[in-house]
């Protein structure tokens, strides 16, 4: 099977981001040297992006249970019970590296990918949110990146017809060379009609649906797991290209098929494309899969097994169908003018077998790909203790009116209207509160119930005190929902950090995850889904740590929701909360402090 020209060496593995130990482990598990396709599959599955190898140990400490939880981490998205037999299905995911290289397509495919994660579970997406971090406003690239990312988010969400109802945007010079683009999608499904990805029934057909496979995005998951350097922009060809129109057709076709009783399991082809979808489906089902790669609908000619397996072309899905419904299912996809191709079958072998050009291109056991993925306990230490500042330590001689204008005009505090007006926040006609408030509120169609949601993080807090900053992000998200009258139910998180191989970065990760866990436990908002984005560094310099929280809650009657503006003159104004009597609050790392003297 392995031709002489196809014998891989450690040097090949290293270019795919694998370490010497990982290379040795692959050879040991296979009992031979992998070929190019097999090595590519291992490198993608063992990439930080797919395997969570640096963060898994700490993610396991997060609370994931609660009576409201229907589906915790591990599926395409998390699911919580919102009453009336309905589930809210949601997740947040990063598309940081692609968005820096090609901001429009990077952001657009970020939105497309997270939407597929949600409708893969059988939910109709009802809302999109985002969390964006850009470099300093005056940096030469920032204007270009903001413009591209905002139009990319709008370009996908507006076209597919899901309202973008909330988000946040901050600017800091640490993101000059590594922006953060996190997209969150929320969907609704009947609690008893949630679809999962575990393959079932040996012999059942494996079906490829959606767009054709091209050479775009090859090895994107590996790119997303590497630091940036000056040569990063030469990686432009690894950025996927989005097609929201095909995304819309795929969403409608999948939801139409799922309404019939035909789908046994389904998985989006996201990061690492056909590789991660086939491996995860087989692995979760404890089964194997055999795929004839010559049958994969291809957009380009002469694609190799390696390219077909590692392509991240968008708008594709892999499904296992009941054996006797193939023609009914095909008719639905034909109606929507989408490819529908049986490309293989579920097997009992526990192996991933790929056929190509009359031969075997890959024959590897599924177990090691998932279960033996490395898990590291990377060195970390105690977070450096920073001196707490009291207001008395800070002096500011400027007149209060001047300071007020300075604050209101600050790039992190000013109105975001010019951004969110570029997003369709009203399509689907259920948006009660769109962007610009504390939390967004979307009515559950046909009922009085509403879904409330928000995304939150304050990176400068996390940098100053990772544990408190991680907890604060959860608390702020919780408060934002409380402020409109909603009951928070659960959270999704997107951990954006630098290189975990550096102890000081690993310390940020560990501490902020612990803080996040503490807060989530105390507030009874378990983590039901999430994403980790590490190696957010440029030329060795890390971003401000940014563990974003996406939160979802419910309000029984949308008529009871509270707005965030003064409604009439003459009304009293109250400040509520627990003020410390001996002090008049905290000023550390506040924006006010940045404009004051110590």
């Amino acid at each position: 099977m392995t031709s002489a020209s196809d014998v891989m060496t450690f040097e090949n593995a290293a270019t795919m981001g694998l370490s010497r130990d990982e290379w040795d482990l692959i050879n040991q598990r296979l009992g031979r040297t992998p070929n190019l396709c097999e090595l590519g599959i291992f490198s993608a599955m063992w990439s930080e992006h797919c395997s969570y190898k640096s963060s898994k140990k700490w993610l396991k400490t997060l609370p994931i249970d609660g009576p409201q939880v229907i589906e915790g981490p591990g599926e395409n998205a998390g699911a919580v019970d919102i009453g009336d037999g309905l589930a809210a299905i949601f997740k947040i995911e990063s598309h940081n590296h692609p968005s820096f290289i090609e901001p429009y397509q990077g952001a657009a495919t970020g939105v497309g990918g997270i939407l597929r994660d949600v409708f893969t579970m059988g939910a109709r997406p009802v809302a999109l949110l985002n969390a964006l971090r850009f470099g300093a406003a005056e940096h030469e690239k920032t204007r270009h990146l903001v413009g591209g990312v905002v139009s990319g988010i709008g370009g996908y969400g507006n076209c597919i017809g899901i309202p973008t109802v909330g988000g946040e945007v901050n600017f800091d010079k640490s993101y000059n060379g590594n922006i953060l683009v996190n997209a969150m999608a929320v969907g609704l499904a009947n609690s008893d009609r949630i679809f999962r990805s575990a393959a079932t029934g040996p012999g059942n057909p494996v079906i490829y649906v959606g767009a054709k496979t091209g050479r775009d995005g090859i090895h994107g998951a590996t790119m997303a797991s590497a630091e940036f350097s000056d040569e990063t922009e030469s990686k432009r060809p690894t950025v996927q290209v989005g097609d929201p129109f095909t995304g819309k057709l795929l969403m409608e076709a999948c939801l139409e098929l799922m309404a019939s009783d035909s789908v046994l399991s389904i998985q989006d082809m996201g990061a690492a494309g056909l590789t991660s979808s086939s491996v995860e489906m087989a692995s979760k089902g404890g089964l194997g899969m055999e795929i004839d790669l010559d049958l994969v609908p291809a957009r380009e000619e002469n694609m190799s097994a390696y390219e077909l397996m590692l392509s991240e072309s968008q708008e594709r899905m892999l499904m296992v169908l009941k054996p006797d419904v193939t023609e009914t299912a095909r008719a639905i996809f034909n109606k929507w003018d989408l490819d529908f191709m049986p490309i293989g079958r579920v097997t009992e072998t526990g192996r991933l077998i790929l056929l190509k050009d009359g031969g075997t291109a890959c024959d590897i056991p599924i177990g090691p790909l998932v279960d033996d993925a490395p898990e590291y306990d990377r060195p970390h230490g105690d977070a450096p203790v920073r001196k707490q500042l009291a207001s008395i330590d800070i002096t500011n001689d400027a007149p209060i009116s001047h300071m007020l204008k300075t604050m209101l005009g600050h790039v992190d505090l000013a109105s975001r209207r010019w951004i969110y007006e570029q997003y369709d926040s009203q399509v689907m006609a259920d948006t009660i509160a769109g962007p610009g408030g504390d939390a967004a509120l979307v009515r559950v169609h046909g009922s009085k119930r509403g879904l409330a949601m928000s995304t939150d993080c304050t990176p400068r807090y996390v940098e100053a005190d990772p544990k408190m900053g991680g907890a604060q992000a959860v608390a702020e998200a919780y408060r934002n929902l409380s402020a409109i009258g909603a009951t928070p139910l659960a959270i999704t998180n997107n951990l954006n950090f630098g290189n975990p191989e550096k102890p000081e970065i690993m310390t940020q990760i560990v501490e902020s995850v612990l803080g996040m866990g503490d807060a989530a436990r105390q507030l009874d908002t378990p983590v039901v889904s999430g994403n980790v984005s590490l190696y957010n560094e440029t030329d060795g310099k890390a971003i401000q740590p940014c563990p974003v929280i996406g939160i979802v809650g419910v309000i029984e009657n949308v008529d009871d929701a509270v707005g965030n503006c003064f409604v009439a003159a003459g009304q009293d104004i109250f400040v509520i909360g627990q003020g410390d009597k001996t002090d008049d609050g905290w000023l550390g790392v506040s924006i006010y402090q940045q404009h004051s003297r110590r």
Partner: protein, 234 residues
Amino acid sequence: MTLSALRVAIIVFPGSNCDRDMMLAIEQLTSRRPALVWHKEASLDAADLVIIPGGFSFGDYLRCGALAGRSPIMNAVLDHAARGGAVMGICNGFQILTETGMVPGVLIRNAGLKFSCRNVGLQLCETLASPFTAGLDFGENLTIPIAHNEGNYFADADELDRIEGNGQVVFRYATSDAVGPVNPNGASRDIAGVLSSNGRILGMMPHPERAMYKLHGGTDGAKFLLKSLEALVS
């Protein structure tokens, strides 16, 4: 005839995304669910009103509305219009109507080169006889949201003079309490909606189906749709 007897058909193209919103808006007003008609159909059951909804038909690829305007169903819609049938095109539906020449003018990229989603203030103009304006007072102000990237209405000066003279201009962007510039997209003479020369076909950029109840932030969309439907009944 009563409102619930009104037969409304909504055309669905691949990429339409306001079809369901419009269906529910009409059902809310008439208690009768409109028929959704897939674009590949070659014929149309008798309808009192055909609605072409908003969205991104065919992904807006090539040019907004260009591909949808050539879908099989459009021959049936043209036949319906030729018989004097009423047609309403909202947003992408307006773009499709201009592509087929059913209403005058074209819609080009917003002057600000950005997608714009917000409330706009509209003023109802004095028009020729039309079911879409029969129940409203000329000069009346309405607040209805827009959400588009190509809503900049354009025609040459002679054409604009002609349609204004004929009373074919229905809505102009006008001052209101809405935030932002009065004219959101650079439309010629602030035009937000136009009629065909017989007054039976309406194209407009704002989305009345998004201003149906108080929690939407306004009910002017419901008011406009209801008056149109009532005029079609009588």
